[in-house]
Each structure stands twice: as C-alpha cells, then as structure tokens.
Subunit: 172 residues, 2 copies
C-alpha cells in the first residue's frame, strides 16, 4: 500500500512524500556469488527499462534498473552508464500462453542476472560486476570468481554500448 | 534522484519515507479516449508484472501495474483483481537486436493500453475500463466509446482469469 502526497513545485520538478507499507512476504536472501556479489534487495520494485525474447535459449526477459540506472536510461545517458547503475535482467523460460497460441509468456525462472557498474572494483571485467542466480532456488552461478570472465567475454560484443546489450524501450 | 530513509519495524513490515525529485522531461498528457479515460500519470514508474511476445502481430509487451495491481499480483489475489487495479500494457513493434540475431527487442511504440478495474463504472465491459493510445504520438484509439466492446470481446477468452490474459511473472 502506498500513500503519496504530491507537491508540485514547478512544471519539471515534483517532490512526493510517500509512506510505503511493504506487506509482501519477506523473500529469502540467496547465497553470495563466487565473485562476492549479494543479490540487490528490493529489485522486484525497481523500475522498468526493457524486455527481450531470446529464441536461441527460449527465454523471455524483463530488464529493470535501480534508480541510478533508470534515471540514466530515461535521460539517454547510457554510454557509458553511470557509476552505481545496476541492471537486473530477470529471465524466465518461455512458454505458450494457454489461451493465446501466438503469445509467448514467462514460465519457470531460468535465472536472474545483475550487472553492477563500478569501474574501479570491476576493472578486470570492463567496469561491470556480473552476478547470476539460477532457477527458482536462486543458486549462485559459477564454480569460482572466474565465471565473470565468461559473462564479460560474451558482453564484449556490446563494447560500443558500454558492454550492455539492453536498449531502453521508448516510453513517450 | 530518490532519497529513502528506511525504518524497519519488524521482519515483514517496513516504512520508508522517500522524497523523489523527478528530473525527467515532463511528458505531454495525450488526449482522452472516446470512452473518457485519461492516461494514468506516472505509469512509467509503476512496478513490473510481466512480459509477453506476440508473434501474430509482431509485438513485445511489458506489463506494469499501479500499486493496487502490483500488490494483488504479488500476493496472488488476482481472481478477481481488486477494485482500483490498473494494468498498463506497453506494446512495441518487435525488431531484431543489432548485435544478437536471436534476440527480439522493442522497436517503435505500437500502442500503450490500460485496463482499469471498476466493476460499477465499467459494468458493460465486465468491470474493466479499456483504453489504448496508438504510436509514439499516443493518439487515442477508437472512433467512439463503443471501441471498448472490441477490447471486451477479445478479453472474453480470458473470462476464467477475470478477463485478464497476463499472468504475473514469478519473482522469488
């Protein structure tokens, strides 16, 4: 439940005072990844950046961002993405909608991935910290910290867009 | 920019006091639909419910909800959806990712649609008010108020799930 008291100051700046009662069941924090990344808390409530359908591995994706990432995405300041930006890529196995043959919709959780921009900390992977948790059990991916090189290797294809494949979807 | 002062009361209830400075360019409010619905303000910042890929009309969809809808989706109380719930279905033409052949990603805006649950007001369309704005220009869809019967006719297929096709994606 969220109560918001909007106070409009001028046409482009608004301050809102909000009190949120989070009544959802508390989710369990999964184990830390082998490269020392904890799953960001409250990612479920992050704002929307984009979607994707991968037909090679039969998955549907929702891409959300923390406040730094969303602000950057919506103002077009994403090359490079700013320090502190975190992208959440929520990946489900795709399945056919039971009532609509031509619609592909999310099935079971395939994996949830995060990219954290910190140019100094993650210098060896081009400024991004990579983390992945697999399946509904959110089991950390990777046998050791080197798994992140696998991520970075693939993301090298997106070098010209700061190693990020996602293009923010247009929201006029 | 968002400053949040979290005050944790107990393990399952949290109150946060937040002040949001919306620094994005103010978006223009599109014209009202022929059935008298205004586009909900601030829908861009609503929380995530699901995604879909329609191969029949080549579109990718992101489904967001207002706070009532999101609370219902995440607690499983969606049959029926509660009064006041609003679902936003943001629909883009699909396109191939320039760097990843097997990835379909959002292209131009196809249309943005909203479903508003108000059993009394929208009795003639099974309790849902339907609204659609077409293209980047967000032109209201429909020549007159009867266009909503077209929406309701199609959604009749989803009668057993309160006329909603969307199933909230799992977020463990």
């Amino acid at each position: 439940m969220k109560y918001t008291l909007p106070l409009r100051l001028c046409s482009t700046i608004a301050i809102s005072l909000s009190i949120s009662f989070s009544a959802y069941a508390e989710t369990k924090q999964p184990a830390t990844t082998p490269n020392g990344i904890e799953m960001p808390k409250n990612y479920q409530n992050w704002q929307f950046i984009g979607v994707a359908h991968r037909t090679d591995n039969h998955s549907l994706r929702g891409i959300l961002g923390n406040s730094i990432a969303v602000k950057a995405a919506r103002s077009g300041n994403i090359n490079p993405w700013p320090e502190g930006a975190i992208l959440a890529k929520l990946v489900w196995k795709d399945r056919q909608h039971p009532l609509w043959e031509a619609a592909t919709v999310p099935g079971d959780v395939q994996h949830f991935e995060f990219m954290i921009k910190d140019s100094k900390k993650y210098l060896s992977t081009q400024g991004w910290g990579y983390a992945r948790w697999v399946g509904k059990e959110l089991k950390p991916y990777g046998d050791n910290a080197n798994f992140a090189q696998e991520c970075a290797g693939c993301h090298a294809k997106a070098e010209k867009t700061d190693y990020v494949f996602t293009r923010p979807a247009e929201m006029p």
